[in-house]
Symmetry: C3
Subunit: 144 residues, 3 copies
C-alpha cells in the first residue's frame, strides 16, 4: 500500500493502475452509504480497463483543480486469508495542497483490500475506499 499511495501522490497514475489485477474492482463509497445500505457510489471501476480509461481521461481532459495529493496510511490490519488471497484494512488520511502552498485535510477513511500473490509481488484484486468524509463527487478528479 506504500507504493499505492506514493503512485497517486506523485501523479504516477499509470503505475497505480498497474498494481491492480485485470479482473479487479475499485470502488469509492461513503461510510454513511455503507452503514445505511444505500447504493450510491462516488467512483466505480469493475475491471482494469476501466481504471485505464479513467486515468487516460484524467490525463486528457481534466486541467482544473490542480493540486498535490498526500496520503498518510496507518498500519495494516489483516482480516482474512484464504489460499492465495489476503484481506486487510488500512486507515488513511489524505491531504491536498494547492499550488500556491496551503495544505488541508481532504478526506479520511479506510481501505478494505483484497490482494493476491503474483510472483514476488502482490496484485490488488479489490479495493473498496470507505470515506468517512462525505466528499463532493465533482472534486474527485484523482483516485483516493
Amino acid at each position: 500500500m506504500a507504493e499505492y499511495a506514493m503512485a497517486i501522490d506523485e501523479n504516477r497514475l499509470e503505475d497505480w493502475v498497474e498494481l491492480f489485477d485485470e479482473t479487479c474492482d475499485y470502488k469509492i463509497v461513503t461510510r454513511e452509504n455503507v452503514e445505511q445500505n444505500l447504493p450510491n457510489v462516488l467512483m466505480w471501476c469493475d475491471n482494469k480497463n476501466m481504471l485505464r480509461d479513467r486515468v487516460e481521461s484524467y490525463r486528457h481532459v481534466n486541467l482544473y483543480n490542480l493540486h498535490y495529493d498526500r496520503h498518510v496510511l496507518g498500519p495494516l490490519r489483516f482480516t482474512g486469508n484464504d489460499g492465495a488471497a489476503w484481506r486487510f484494512d488500512v486507515s488513511y488520511s489524505l491531504f491536498q495542497t494547492e499550488l500556491e502552498g496551503a495544505s488541508r485535510l481532504f478526506s479520511v477513511g479506510r481501505y478494505r483490500v483484497e490482494a493476491i500473490a503474483a510472483g514476488d509481488a502482490a496484485r490488488l484484486k479489490s479495493v473498496l475506499v470507505i470515506a468517512d468524509t462525505g466528499l463532493v463527487p465533482s472534486l474527485l478528479a484523482t483516485p483516493i
Copy 2:
C-alpha cells in the same frame, strides 16, 4: 495497535475493551500536564471493569455528539522489553467527521503502551494517552 484503532473507529468499543488485560490501566492526560507534573487526567480507568462500565454508560447514556472517529497511527518505537512485557510508543492523529460530512483534526499525540503476551496474541497492560492537543474533556465521549 491497528486493531485498537479500528475497533474505536468502527464503534466496536466492546472489542476495544477486550484488547486489555483484567489488571490494566488506561489514562488520558495532556502533554502540558505531563511536562509540568500536574495531576489532572481527562479519563482514567485502572482496571478492565472500569473500561466496561465506561463503554456501557456510553452505549446507554450518550446520544449526543454523533461522529465518526478515524485514527491514523505512525510506526511503533520500541522502548523496552523485560520478560513477557514490551513497551513502545506510537504517535497518533485522530480525525472526527460529523454526520453531515466535514472531517476535521480532533487530536494528535502519543500512546505509551505496555503489552504482555497472551497465547498467540498480546494483551494491553497499560495505555497512557498523552494528547498534545488540550482537549475539552466534555467532548471525550469516546476513548482515544
Copy 3:
C-alpha cells in the same frame, strides 16, 4: 524513522542529530521547487556539525514560536539497495500544537532517505525533506 520523528516531537533534538552519519546531508525543499528544478532550499546542512550548530543555535537563540510538534509517518517504500545502503521514501504529516491547546496541520510531504548499516543500528546518510506545503521559512525553527 519512528525514532527520528519521536526525537523531534519530544524536543530531543540532540538525539535527532545523533541519528545521522558524520558525512550526512539534510535538506528541506518544497515540491514545487523540485518539480520546476529551482535551486531554492528552506534549510540545508551538508554535514553533521552543521546539524549540531543548528540545534545549539535553536537552544540558545530561539525563544519564540513555542509549540509541540507531532509527526505521523506512513509506511516505508523501499526504492533501492546497493551494498550497505538502503533508499526509501516515507510520507509524513506534521501537526503543531500551540501551548494553549489547538492543534493544526503544519506541513505534509515526503522524506527521501538514504541509510547505512552501523553495527546493529542504521545511520542516516541523507535526508531530503520534500514539503508539499509551501512553508514560510521563518517559521522553520525546528527541523521537519
